[in-house]
Assembly symmetry: C2
Homo-oligomer: 110 residues x 2
Amino acid sequence: MKRTTKNIFYSESTEKTARFAKALGHPVRLTILKHLSNLSCCHTGDLVDILPLAQSTISQHLKELKDAGLIQGEVNPPKVKYCINIENWHKAQQLFDTLFKEDFSKISCC
Amino acid sequence: MKRTTKNIFYSESTEKTARFAKALGHPVRLTILKHLSNLSCCHTGDLVDILPLAQSTISQHLKELKDAGLIQGEVNPPKVKYCINIENWHKAQQLFDTLFKEDFSKISCC
DNA sequence: ATTTTATATCGCAAATATACGATGAATGTT
DNA sequence: AACATTCATCGTATATTTGCGATATAAAAT
């Protein structure tokens, strides 16, 4: 990325929606979230058993989900229990809801 | 990316959701979609006027939205009129709906 | 005190994404 | 025919993402 010419500013909701969408934009991370929904919670190790990826890779995906605010981890060394961050999950849900509620019914030109 | 060890396969819905989410995961593309929702349709030039980005950059973002299936373009040289691809838009809406409908109410561990 | 367990982080390589200017293509205008 | 308009695509530079193995960390088990 360059963005040398100008810094673009977007609305708060646009920024947030993009942030969430980006985090959701990888099948591994969706699989992790789906797994979390089945088990309520899980440890990194559970995911390592399921996904054919290195532990470090999965840890990285978890970090991204965490940074995006979609999950949270309860450290309990040497284990970490992950689960959905409900508050932000609902926020994301709401943002996508709004996005998809755009009224495209009037379109007839294409 | 390498993925040399194994090729991972995900469910159809996971793949599709990730595809849509990825396309939505950039503020410029969300802005384009928002603009399309306001005007029903628009030309590349309209977006160039609004966004402080080079025409080629915007064209590239439009291509990604088109490749993801979220928009469609009606070529009418030298102009191209873009609008939402309603069918896929609804499909995306449904996929995100399903994703966010995951029941996390039972969570109490974190 | 050493080893084991579970996880995060670092450093690297390859792939992909983002952005730009230049150029090409298609049509309309002069 | 030459030019203008509108847009896509190419080539390139840089940034970010994805993935891995190796290593670090922190507590429990031996």
